[in-house]
């Protein structure tokens, strides 16, 4: 059966049809093309013809024309719409005309940089002789020292990441004279990943880049590309610090797309328990894979990738592969190649595959549960979608309240705009680090601009700190350290625990990030990798190594994390709010053994590992003591959780940060305040000032929360107000309102 026949069958199957909450069809869209622009360099036009490209999609032509006219360009494109030509055409056109020109490509990850290098090499090959002298290189932490000198001199296109630009290229700019003197284009792909605190850092790195370019007499144009996001033009302008020509209309063709929202049947009406979404997702994938329909299954955790993979392997054999963080780069590359070539029929993935990694286009996507954000849902569904022919995306609702709400109100999702990306480059905590780096790179002059930043103030302060010296109208770096080495653009540690198979002479089979390691590779844990079962024999925590051995078992393990928050210092406080320093400790405590297929609990054990500690800054808001008696403990718990979630969801609007930059912890009776309390804290170690600003906008924030709840027409809480909380138990909406009322916050009107 082909996909159309499968769809017909599903539509009429009396076991499936009743559980389809919504079936939405997006009509096919024909290609909108224009002839190859006459001002494209003839060598390049010939290369395109060589690759059978005889016209351009309208968005590619628009991007090319804007770039030729000297504008900065941001392209908003769906998956598989020929995005890379939007920036590769202007860059290569320039190289044809100006053989010494240079371009810098920025990707958020090394894997994407590698992908792009392969694409550039294919294009160079198509251009042929004219491109013989062109050289493109990746430049990242893996680049060998002896290759670096050659790349600095000879690389026409240097493909790197913002971290490397920040820590290595800009601080050593005198070694990159050729690049900076001749830099014409800076390509910023996957723009939507640069939001929140990370984006604010990147915006400052780009300010430093522009400043160094000015020193060497160049003024590069920026070419950006973004996946679905509500405000791509605005985000690009904030990041680049200059006006941008937004190309938002895609001319790429699209086949008909079916979006099916599937809610698993109720098996216990009394308790409202539905069939497991994991097993239902596996059934959908099996149904498609058995008909040789190329399918991708998205799920939320690494563990569920492995479980789904195990179940699918049993049904359809090893043409299904897993893909998640923690697989080694070679293994991932092999899977990507297999998918493009069609050797692999299906893949089970986490959002690690969401970013623009090229795996060709698949016919069907199955989403096990609704992903965290609307933009993310569209990206995952976009993985299924071909230029011609139909495609299918199935969202299998889990029992989470959020999923259940969407199953009941499917239009809520389909009509909702994707999230916006915010950055705040002038957040002084972020800014100060980069002013230091910039001062070390090049002396500041009085009156110099650094974006919109309050530069004189920061420099004046740094002079008092004796890290810069103000003489004769200039600010000189004089400290004895290298500031870029002290600043990390990403708040999460990049450190990993490597997983070593002892049965095969100590072979490394995978890795896991430091934060997740206590949960996934504690001693006695079952570690699944590509649906193979291993047991952890020893976790050498100081050495960051987990030793495993293959086992045959019929269970997997699932560990629990206990999180605690304690207040270390109070910076400011009044009746309603406080701001201070906190320690957030997390410790893996015990694990459960869970039987495959039935998911019964068949045993447990303790985990003995040191706790992890995060010192950061927090804002908190305490509620009157008597509420527990008035509302009941259950409702109070639900209300606090709902309100905490709503506050954390609203805060990015006020702070221009990302939802991920803040964590929320409600405590029914907080040890520090001895009252019900909601803590919102900076996710970055040490904090980046978000808590301080929350303290400042406390009233506006609570007011907005009250208004949001009052304006929401749901009954008991929904994702639009308090509902996405873990314990979005009934009554959370009413209880959240009571909490607000108790501290005198009322919705106006």
């Amino acid at each position: 059966m082909n996909l159309a026949q499968v769809l017909d069958q599903v539509a009429t199957d009396i076991d499936i049809r009743p559980h389809i909450a919504a079936w939405h069809t997006l009509p096919a869209q024909p290609a909108r093309t224009v002839p190859i622009p006459p001002d494209l360099h003839p060598e390049l036009a010939r290369a395109l013809a060589h690759r059978e490209i005889r016209s351009l999609y309208t968005h590619q032509a628009e991007a090319f024309a804007a770039a030729r006219a000297g504008e900065n360009v941001a392209v908003l494109t769906p998956t598989a719409s020929g995005k890379t030509l939007c920036y590769n055409l202007p860059v290569l056109d320039r190289l044809c005309r100006e053989p010494d020109a240079r371009a810098l490509y920025l990707f958020p990850t090394k894997a994407l940089a590698q992908d792009q290098l392969a694409e550039l090499d294919r294009l160079f090959e198509a251009v042929g002789e004219a491109a013989a002298a062109w050289k493109a290189f990746t430049y990242d932490g893996d680049t060998p020292a002896d290759a670096r000198a050659a790349i600095r001199q000879a690389g026409h296109i240097v493909v790197t990441n913002p971290d490397m630009l920040h820590a290595s290229i800009l601080p050593l700019h005198t070694r990159w004279v050729r690049l900076f003197e001749n830099l014409r284009y800076v390509v910023v792909d996957e723009l939507h990943t640069y939001r929140g605190v990370f984006g604010s850092h990147v915006a400052n790195v780009l300010r430093r880049l522009r400043r160094v370019c000015r020193f060497y007499g160049s003024d590069p144009q920026f070419l950006a590309a973004s996946a679905t996001i509500a405000n791509p033009g605005e985000l690009a302008e904030r990041l680049i610090g200059a006006p941008v020509h937004l190309v938002a209309e895609s001319g790429a063709p699209r086949g008909e797309r079916h979006i099916v929202m599937y809610n698993p049947p109720v098996v216990n009406p009394a308790l409202g328990i539905r069939r497991s979404a994991l097993r239902e997702s596996a059934l959908w994938a099996r149904r498609l894979l058995r008909e040789d329909i190329a399918t991708i299954v998205f799920t939320r955790s690494r563990l569920s990738v492995e479980l789904l993979l195990t179940y699918l392997r049993e049904a359809v054999g090893d043409r299904v592969r897993g893909y998640r963080g923690g697989y080694l780069p070679n293994e991932r590359r092999a899977i990507e190649r297999g998918l493009r070539a069609g050797d692999i029929a299906g893949v089970v993935a986490t959002s690690a595959l969401e970013l623009g990694i090229d795996i060709g286009s698949l016919e069907a996507a199955v989403l096990h549960g609704f992903p965290g954000s609307v933009a993310s849902a569209w990206q995952q569904m976009g993985r299924a979608g071909r230029r011609d022919g139909a495609s299918l995306a199935v969202i299998v609702a889990s029992s989470d309240p959020y999923d259940q709400f969407l199953a009941a109100h499917p239009d809520h999702f389909l009509g909702q705009p994707p999230e916006a990306g915010y950055v705040n480059p002038d957040n002084v905590y972020v800014l100060m680090s980069h002013v230091k780096c910039a001062a070390c790179e090049l002396t500041f002059e009085d009156g110099e601009q650094f974006g919109e930043a309050p530069l004189e103030d920061v420099l004046g302060f740094l002079a008092e700190e004796q890290v810069v010296r103000h003489v004769d109208g200039r600010w000189y770096w004089m400290a004895d350290h290298f500031p870029a080495a002290d600043v990390s653009l990403r708040s999460a540690a990049q450190e990993n625990v490597v997983i070593i198979d002892r049965s095969k002479g100590a072979r490394v089979i995978g890795e896991v990030d430091l934060f997740s390691a206590p949960l996934l590779v504690h001693e006695q844990a079952i570690y699944l990798h590509g649906a193979d079962f291993y047991q952890v024999e020893q976790l050498d925590w100081p050495a960051r190594k987990a030793y495993v051995r293959p086992v045959k078992v019929d269970y997997y393990t699932d560990a629990e994390l206990a999180v605690d928050l304690s207040v270390l210092d109070v910076f400011r406080q009044d009746e309603a709010r406080a701001w201070g320093e906190v320690a957030v400790t997390s410790k893996a405590t015990l694990y459960k053994k869970i039987k495959l297929h039935t998911h019964e609990n068949v045993g447990w054990g303790r985990i003995h590992l040191p706790e992890a500690q995060l010192h950061t800054t927090a804002y908190w808001c305490a509620f009157p003591e008597g509420l527990e008696a008035a509302l009941g403990r259950e409702a109070l718990t639900a209300g606090l959780a709902g309100l905490a979630n709503l506050l954390a969801g609203l805060a990015p609007l006020y702070l221009l940060c990302d939802r991920r930059d803040l964590h929320a912890t409600p405590q029914v009776r907080a040890p520090f305040t001895e009252r019900p309390t909601i803590y919102l804290y900076d996710a970055a170690p040490g904090g980046v000032g978000l808590a301080e600003r929350l303290f400042g906008c406390h009233e506006d924030l609570l007011q907005a929360a009250a208004a949001r709840i009052a304006a929401c027409d749901c009954e008991a809480g929904c994702p639009g107000c308090v509902g996405a909380a873990e314990s979005g138990a009934p009554g959370s909406k009413a209880a959240a309102l009571s909490l607000l009322t108790a501290i005198g916050v009322h919705a106006h009107g």
């Binding site: 004279v177 003489v471 770096w477 400290a479 004895d480 350290h481 290298f482 320093e581």
Partner: protein, 359 residues
């Protein structure tokens, strides 16, 4: 949280608090020139065009140079000239003065200058628009010191060599290299005496470098007699790597004369050099020495077996060496396999010979 303190001070700053104590007086930016001259024995052997260079910098990993000392011979004495960056705006003038001094030098002599001082100056020159920066022949004594004396002495930092190799008295009142960045900031803040400490340290480093340069020069001139025998082997290796075949052979010959009882690892290194320089019989003696005993080197045994088989055409002797090596119980499986293969080949070869010449 050090960062929290920083931001606490930032908030105070924003609230208008100023810390008057840290306001720094501007100083004249012009480069300041200092000179010292020192009597130094043996300096007459050193070419007049040599310029010894040592920098003091604002940060241990780089930053900018605030003090540059250059030593050269003038009227038979070691003359040390030092430039100090008067204040930060004067960096371009400071670099130009230094470039003028060095321009035309026959050879630049530094200690770790190839990877530190010289690239740093080149970067700072580029940053300050001082172009072109001179390109000079450069002899970085760190590399040869490590090759010649590192094996015996272990650490070869200039201050260690000064004590252990050059036998100079311990420095008094020297704040040490790590104090330099702080001393310059103290100088900018107006602290009297900070600069004198930095100048004194730099001059002492240059003196030590000069003594080392004289020592290296005497090796260049073939005066090998006063060196420790084991250092001669290091010298031979260094000269071989630099492509100086004649010099390497001279040093190797001196070592062979001076060292009747080399250690196992010295024997192995010496044998390798002898092989490269065509001293086959001496190489064989050294291999035999290195391979000797229950923990003798298997590499040496293999090299010796090859030599006996191919050069001396004596497969029986080669086989004996291989069999002795194979008798060692501690061989790794891979090693054992390779040796066994060699033994088989040698046995076959001997067997073939005996069948051709029936008794």
């Amino acid at each position: 949280m050090a960062e929290a303190d920083l931001y606490r001070r930032w908030r105070a700053f924003q609230a208008g608090e100023r810390r008057a104590s840290v306001v720094q007086p501007p100083r004249s930016s012009a480069p300041r020139l200092f000179g010292v001259s020192v009597d130094l024995a043996g300096w007459e052997t050193v070419p007049a065009g040599w310029r010894l260079l040592d920098l003091e910098t604002s940060a241990l990993r780089g930053g900018f140079a605030f003090l540059a000392g250059v030593a050269a011979v003038r009227d038979g004495r070691l003359r040390i000239t030092q430039w100090v960056l008067g204040d930060l705006p004067g960096e371009a003038a400071f670099l130009r003065a230094l470039a003028d001094e060095l321009d035309g030098a026959a050879c630049l002599i530094t200690y770790n200058g190839r990877s530190f001082d010289w690239p740093l100056l080149r970067d700072r020159a580029r940053l300050n628009g001082v172009a072109p920066w001179p390109e000079l022949p450069h002899r970085d004594l760190l590399h040869e010191a490590r090759a010649v004396w590192g094996g015996r002495l272990g650490r070869v930092g200039l201050s260690e060599l000064e004590r252990t190799l050059l036998g100079r008295p311990t420095r008094r009142d020297d704040p040490g290299g790590a104090a330099m960045p702080g001393l310059y900031r103290a100088y900018l803040a107006g602290e009297a005496g900070a600069l004198d400490l930095a100048l004194g340290h730099n001059a002492a480093d240059l003196e030590a470098l000069a003594v080392l340069a004289v020592r290296c020069r005497s090796l260049d001139l073939g005066q090998l007699g006063s060196e420790d025998p084991s250092d001669l082997l290091g010298l031979a290796g260094w000269r071989w790597r630099r492509g100086d075949r004649g010099g390497a052979d001279a040093a190797l010959a001196a070592w062979l004369d001076a060292e009747p009882t080399p250690s196992r690892s010295e024997s192995l290194r010496g044998a390798t050099l002898c092989r490269r320089l065509g001293r086959w019989e001496q190489a064989a003696t050294l291999w035999a020495r290195a391979a000797d005993g229950p923990f003798g080197s298997v590499d040496a045994a293999i090299a010796l077996a090859i030599h006996l088989e191919r050069r001396r055409h004596d497969p029986a002797a080669a086989l004996a060496v291989v069999e002795t090596a194979l008798a060692r119980p501690w061989l790794s499986p891979a090693r054992r396999e390779r040796l066994a293969a060699r033994r088989e080949r040698l046995r076959r070869r001997l067997g073939v010979r005996s069948s051709r010449t029936p008794a």
